[in-house]
Symmetry: C2
Subunit: 189 residues, 2 copies
């Protein structure tokens, strides 16, 4: 950030009065420009015991497989965002059944949330941001070609929980900067 | 938003290629400035069956009572943000026990998350953003002087669930623009 989005003057980094963090502050109008984590919302769509994955057509991780998901927009709920992204990227209509995983992805400033979702029919198609969309049985999941740690962990939890017969909400922290990656049940944060 | 924070030129609202929403786009360098919901993280701190509330020293809702909470910062987890805000606003150390409520607060573009948390001792003190901090028994909660709908609903769920003997994660949508306020168990989104 170089310029104030309000008045166009230059910004500098300083710790405002009553604050304890460096912020971008306008040198003219004094506006403080906070930067905050963003929310990624997605679905784990299931049809006939198979999971729907998308092969990314865009960076980062172009060519690798992911669950449909993306940045939450103003004016929509996390469920609406997850469903919208599933339509946009995978051409699939889903019914969300539960909030399943929450990941603090610290090195990119994101909170990623994935919902379990059901498809009523095997209708899907690659959207603009996808090269391919396919339903995968567990034994066919492309584990070596998954785009993100959040996707791998969500899928691992899903297949493990399915064997146990109960889907337990999970939360985890991922930080490539500190190589800290921890996961836990949501009941034991 | 009037100016590009990257190059300082003017911005205009347009729908970028491949997008379907109005964005602020720089008229010179072409940078797209997305605006996304922000995350509010807070705690419901409990000591000896009492709940810790803060009376707000700042707008909005100055003078009304709230649970400690605030905007998540880059580089921290939602639990860390909730615990930090509890230290800053209420001077209280807590142990988070579970993620309890998630609210889509659509008219202000926020996702609010509250954790249940335990205090090991009745140590608390008003921080810079609080006029007062007090422990309240259920019958003494200032229901007519609560700052936000998210706080009222989280407290209502808490006392109801405590009577039932089980704390169930809840999610709800609040939108003062459309007067839509819905709540539900997280298992029935």
């Amino acid at each position: 950030m170089n310029y104030c989005s309000h008045c166009g003057a230059g910004v500098r980094q300083e710790i405002p009065a009553g604050d304890n963090r460096l912020r971008y502050v306008c040198t003219e109008c004094g506006m403080i420009h906070y930067q905050n984590p963003r929310i990624v919302a997605g679905c784990l769509p299931v049809y006939d015991n198979k999971v729907l994955l998308c092969r990314r057509a865009i960076e980062p991780r172009k060519g690798l497989w992911t669950l449909p998901g993306g940045f939450l927009e103003l004016g929509e709920t996390i469920e609406q965002g997850a469903v919208r992204e599933t339509v946009e990227e995978a051409g699939a209509e889903v019914r969300v059944t539960q909030l399943y995983t929450l990941f603090n992805v610290l090195h990119v400033g994101q909170l990623s949330l994935f919902f379990l979702a059901e498809m009523d029919s095997p209708v899907f198609a690659a959207g603009e941001e996808s090269l391919d969309v396919q339903l995968f049985d567990e034994q066919d999941i492309p584990w070596d070609e998954l785009a993100f740690t959040t996707i791998r962990q969500t899928l691992e939890y899903f297949f493990s929980d399915r064997r146990q017969g109960e889907f337990i909400q999970r939360t985890g922290d991922i930080d490539y900067n500190s190589a800290m990656t921890q996961s836990r049940h949501v009941g034991s944060v």
